[in-house]
């Protein structure tokens, strides 16, 4: 550590270069720790549990527009065919798909009174095969009974029904007691809670009510419906393609399209987050590269500029390791000063983001981790030129350069 004082003195004498490097490194540390934080936040968002058997599900969209057709009969016929296909675990008609970005949301109330609190939740209309098809875990109560599943015309809506709700919603509405057996109102329609599933997500991945969902067994008989099919993981694509052909062959006046696996729907739902993650990763990689190349180029030049001094120090008895230590310490000093400046920058930016966009504050450990990483990168980049410096022979000190 004896060398620290001469290092600082020599850096101070030629302020401009070191100062610029410090600015560069400080901005880099600030930008990388910030970007890493955003990346980790987005990854956590994508990794949230959905409760559904994502890898075993695919969906189709069926639209039957010919007049005079009973959609219930069509759906029930299709379901029989799908469920009897080898490899299919279960299937259900469903009004909208989790992660798809489109669907309906229902305002639920505990009482019918106008001024009652409204709890918004994603609204799924399914058959009694719904829970099994989605792969949901029923933690309380029961599934729908056969006679509870009602297909209805828009003009002839059922007056009441039953409902299965997600645990998040149940805990929000009934924090201290079991929700099973209670009555909720969807608009003016009373619904009796018969079951609670551990986890279910809404169609909107950006929603702050992502985990709040209800299932009702009332299916409206209007032009189109989604079919959700659960199969084994391995033969999913094969079954999907053969089923489309089978369903299309039954009736060539209808549409059977939009075949999608659940992962694909989910991937699309997070497309913007994936894009942000990738862009930030590329920027981080480029920042590291630019810095590494910069440090490499600069150290090479510094070393060349100081060949004579190095030679003199070698002649006066400095070891090769000593020379290397000197330059590495120099780098360390620069990175540490840069980290201090970077910390200030990060917190200015982070507190601005908190105030303006309601982002969360950057956790402190991102900065030391990034600093350590940048230190390793700069030391690695400087290693080869510094090694060459240590090989300068003492003879250069006396030679006339």
């Amino acid at each position: 550590m004896l060398e620290l004082s001469p290092i600082i003195k020599s850096l101070w004498r030629n302020k401009t270069g070191p100062l610029l490097i410090i600015i560069q490194l400080a901005l880099t540390i600030a930008a990388i720790s910030n970007a890493m934080f955003v990346v980790s936040e987005r990854m956590a968002k994508i990794d949230r549990p959905s409760g559904i058997a994502e890898q075993e599900i695919f969906t189709l969209w069926m639209r039957q527009s010919s007049p005079g057709i009973d959609l219930q009969a069509v759906i029930e016929r299709d379901m029989t065919i799908i469920r009897s296909t080898p490899g299919v675990i279960d299937a259900t008609p469903i009004s909208s798909l989790p992660f798809s970005g489109s669907g309906s949301s229902a305002g639920m109330r505990k009482e019918l009174a106008e001024r009652a609190i409204i709890y918004q939740a994603a609204n799924y209309e399914i058959s009694k095969h719904g829970l099994n098809s989605l792969g949901l875990n029923l933690i309380e109560g029961r599934n729908f009974y056969d006679d509870e599943v009602i297909f209805f015309e828009r003009d002839n809506a059922p007056q009441n029904s039953v409902v299965i709700i997600s645990q998040h919603l149940a805990q929000e509405i009934f924090p201290d007691e079991s929700a099973v057996g209670k009555t909720l109102y969807k608009g003016a329609m009373p619904l009796t809670v018969v079951g609670i599933v551990e986890q279910m997500v809404s169609p909107w991945s950006d929603s702050d009510r992502f985990n709040h969902a209800i299932f009702v067994p009332t299916i409206v008989k209007e032009g189109s419906i989604n079919y959700l099919v659960r199969t084994g993981k391995d033969d999913r694509y094969f079954i999907m393609n053969s089923l489309i052909e089978k369903l299309r062959a039954l009736d060539n006046t209808r549409l059977v399209v939009d075949e999608n696996t659940m992962e694909k729907i989910k991937g699309k739902s997070y497309a913007d987050d994936y894009a942000m993650i990738k862009i930030l990763m590329v920027v981080i990689a480029m920042l590291i590269l630019v810095n590494a190349l910069g440090i490499f180029g600069l150290t090479t030049f510094w070393v060349n500029q100081r060949r004579k001094q190095i030679g003199i120090r070698r002649a006066l008895g400095s070891t090769k390791a000593g020379i290397m230590r000197y330059f590495m310490l120099e780098n360390l000093v620069l990175v540490i000063v840069a980290a201090l400046l970077g910390t200030v920058l990060v917190y200015l930016n982070s507190s601005y983001m908190v105030r303006t966009y309601g982002a969360s504050l950057l956790p402190w450990y991102y900065i030391p981790v990034t600093t350590l990483f940048i230190l390793i990168v700069t030391l690695a980049a400087a290693f080869s030129p510094v090694r060459r410096a240590s090989l300068i022979s003492p003879v250069e000190a006396v030679a006339n350069v």
Binding site: A188, D272, W302
Partner: protein
């Protein structure tokens, strides 16, 4: 002199090829990253209707729940109920009124055995086409009669026309739209695409324009499949379609053009009267509120420029600065090493200015090379953006902003990264170096 400096710069750069390459690369990556993000940002934050910013207005009426305000945006519903939209249209006070919604229809050619396919469509009134400067390849907007009839006429997009009828003029041809016969009266150019889609920001603001347009008031005849948003706050349950049309569900977008301040006043007065009259009927129980938003305000309310966009823009500038500082440091190191050379030239009578400009020329060469390379890199960057964001195909393309940006950034890069080193070298004392020679 300029040519001489250029030659000196070239020689000097060739003498240190690795370092020169590093400097050029640093500037190029900085400029490329910045241009890529900047292009995306300028497009997404632009207002394609800026030239009509004081003429056309999106209408908001607060018909929402008396107990709580609308849950998003500025607290006022962004869409209207059918009865309110119809009232605006029937009043005939605004210079033109556009009421519309996004629907999904199936389309099939008559006499075709092919299966029908689903397309995104816009049910609208005829003034949509003039209000939003729609470009036609064939035909034009339908007539007022078609609006009020309503008649089964349809305007289709060029791509769909070519798909259905080959590359010929499809005016007067008929198609099956949801099983009914419609006559084609116009073909919209593929080139017409507002980015962002000011007129309907409920959905993705950068999604492609509709494939099909047909008269709005056909909604009276049947419920076309809804591909837009519908929101409702009432307990009241609609048991049939007629009741739905009279309900408090909001699902229609409304725009008006108000060409003069007088019309603007008149229209505002009409809205005030309308709201107080509706209040007597028991509707509009919240404090009376309506808003006429310019396209710019509309884009702003819908936060079309996301926080992600802003964050990336800041980051891209930080990245550019890092790259420029990096290149400055390298240049400084290089110039200082050449200090003895400059010392001799000074001793031989070169002025400080000429030393300064000679080195600035070298920086200029590096900056220009970096900018050109950066422009090429950003081409790749934009292709990357397009593949990452599925809905940005209209956004991430090289445009005049990108090219202008490249030129300006090259100048900035030269000045920022070259000025300091050139100044340092031109101000070092020549005597010091002469002594050591």
């Amino acid at each position: 002199m300029w040519k001489y400096y250029l030659r000196l710069s070239w020689l000097s750069l060739c003498k240190t090829p690795t370092l020169s390459l590093l400097m050029v690369l640093a500037i190029a990556t900085g400029i490329a990253a910045n241009l890529t993000i900047l292009t995306m940002y300028t497009v997404i934050s632009s207002n394609p209707m800026a030239h009509k910013n004081n003429e056309i207005f999106a209408v908001q009426l607060d018909s929402w729940d008396p107990d709580r305000e609308y849950f998003a945006l500025n607290g006022v519903p962004p869409q209207l109920t059918y009865q309110d939209a119809k009232a605006l249209y029937d009043a005939e006070i605004a210079d033109s009124v556009v009421i519309m919604r996004k629907a999904g229809v199936t389309i099939q050619r008559p006499e075709s055995t092919e299966l029908p396919a689903a397309y995104s469509s816009r049910m609208t009134t005829r003034d949509f086409f003039t209000m939003f400067d729609v470009k036609f390849v064939y035909g034009g907007p339908w007539s007022k009669n078609s609006d009020n009839g309503p008649e089964r006429v349809v305007i289709i997009r060029e791509g769909l026309s070519n798909k259905l009828f080959g590359n010929e003029n499809s005016l007067g041809k008929t198609i099956f739209l949801d099983g009914e016969v419609f006559t084609v009266v116009g073909v919209v150019s593929e080139k017409w695409q507002l980015v962002p889609n000011v007129y309907d920001l409920n959905n993705n603001p950068t999604e492609a324009a509709a494939d099909v347009y047909f008269p709005f008031f056909l909604v009276n005849e049947k419920s076309y499949q809804n591909w837009g948003n519908m929101n409702n706050w009432t307990n009241f349950r609609t048991s049939n379609y007629a009741e739905f049309l009279q309900s408090e569900v909001i699902w229609i977008q409304a725009w008006v053009s108000l060409d003069s301040p007088e019309t603007h006043q008149q229209f505002s007065r009409f809205l005030e009267n309308y709201i107080s009259q509706q209040k007597q009927n028991g509707r509009f129980q919240r404090p009376a509120k309506y808003l006429l938003n310019t396209p710019e305000q509309w884009l702003d309310i819908h936060k079309v420029v996301s926080d992600d966009n802003k964050e990336l823009l800041i980051l891209s500038f930080v990245f550019l600065i890092v790259c420029l500082v990096n290149s400055t440091v390298l240049m400084l190191a290089k110039f200082l090493r050449k200090a003895p050379e400059a010392g001799i030239r000074r001793a031989l009578g070169a002025s400080r200015n000429s030393i300064f400009f000679q080195h600035l020329t070298e920086a200029f060469v590096v900056g220009t090379a970096g900018a050109l390379l950066g422009l090429i890199f950003s081409w790749g960057g934009l292709a990357g953006i397009r593949s990452l964001y599925g809905h940005y195909e209209n956004v991430a393309t090289i445009n005049s902003v990108t090219v202008m940006g490249a030129v300006l950034l090259a100048l900035a890069a030269t000045l920022l990264s070259g000025f300091l080193p050139a100044w340092r070298i031109s101000h070092s004392a020549p005597a010091k170096y002469l002594k050591t020679q």
